[in-house]
Symmetry: none
Subunit: 238 residues, 2 copies
């Protein structure tokens, strides 16, 4: 039984399709809100709800007094910002590896936790994952990831290939919508320095992340320690 999509979502998908297929050229104007409203037999409020999603995705921009301009015709926009490690590097000539140091399950989340899990997440317990990423043989990132034990049966079995986000999306239809993060420069504890093959007192980049997903009350938490002596952490967002 297919449930029919909300009107605003149908409009959103139709327009997105038009943009991605090239039928609506980059740089051109979308039909006005009033026209879309008439054409789709929905009110302007509903049209705006659909357009808003396109704005959020970076496909269009609204120009007061003018209309909605198509400013992009490619997908992957929002995703570039928090691509996983492997995806970021796969298009470079650099060789990269990921080493799983620990994987496990615990009923009790670490405490104090860098972002407080929600009550139901706390109750569910979590999977944890400790990984070391290296580029050209040099360790660059130590990653501690925590995933609630909710709605992800057989998680580790499904994750054998190592791509966390791909697994979540394919097996459980969990998609990352946003990332909230906190960045600091710190003196890392000895144990972490050793993993990153750094000498004492080398500054380390510390990032705490909370990923928001399309699943209500389900977040992924990561704490990253980065050796930025050779490679910096870069990102691109809009």
């Amino acid at each position: 039984m297919e449930k029919t999509l909300p009107h605003y979502k149908k409009l959103h998908l139709a327009l997105r399709q038009g943009i991605l297929s090239g039928a609506i050229a980059k740089g051109s104007l979308l039909p006005s809100e009033n026209e879309l409203s008439a054409r789709y037999n929905i009110t302007r409020a509903t049209v705006r709800q659909g357009l808003q999603e396109l704005v959020r995705e970076g496909f269009i921009e609204k120009r007061m007094g003018i209309g909605s301009v198509v400013v992009n015709d490619r997908k992957t926009l929002g995703l570039l910002t928090f691509k996983g490690f492997s995806e970021v590097l796969e298009s470079t000539p650099l060789s990269s590896t990921t080493q799983n140091l620990k994987m496990g399950t615990t009923a009790v989340w670490p405490s104090p936790f860098f972002y407080e899990p929600t009550a139901s997440e706390k109750e569910a317990g979590c999977f944890f994952l400790e990984r070391l990423r290296s580029v050209e043989g040099h360790p660059v990132m130590l990653e501690f990831t925590y995933i609630p034990q909710k709605g992800v049966p057989n998680f580790f079995e499904n994750m054998e290939n190592g791509s966390l986000f791909a697994t979540l999306q394919q097996e459980y239809k969990i998609e990352i919508l946003k990332v909230l993060q906190d960045v600091r420069a710190i003196h890392a504890p000895e144990a972490i320095l050793k993993r990153l093959e750094l000498i004492d007192n080398t500054p380390v980049l510390h990032i705490n992340r909370k990923y928001l997903t399309n699943t209500s009350d389900f977040h992924i938490y990561s704490s990253l320690y980065c050796n930025t002596t050779k490679y910096s952490i870069s990102n691109f967002f809009n």
Copy 2:
């Protein structure tokens, strides 16, 4: 003459203020949309518009059948969106100041430059701007900004109030579309440490940025040094 803010924006700021100040505890529920609607004498549609902004910022999450849960109450600097420094802090209880250390013009860009300016930018020369941002009296960020001398006549005269991005947008219709950035943890030079009132060897967060604008062949370049001992740098992507 103060222009009065839209109702949804007033609601948004009021709630954000409440969350940041701790008056509305993390983990608690916001008043329901109906109640906010009644309390502020606005319709529910307008309430939803205001709440939506809080969702986008990662302060609350909506739970179907439950309400709006406060999931974040950080008092950190959400600087990586391209809102400027002042805009980020204006609705928090934290007091912030900006001190202009240097402003000037030079025909020759610094070299080597952290992101290479384009040929025409190089030829045009640049304005430079050195500013120190403080929160609650503590210096948190030393900012070096470089702007091409192209299409921005009387730039410094127009920028007296200190809001760089607002000036660019209002006076010159230049809007920031995207940001490319590079982040590292470093040992900062003595001169920079001193400005940030840090002792020797304290790790410093260093960010190099290239802002892409709606104006062709016009970029803004910034190099930021952040004292993250007290406040971390935070952001959210979507």
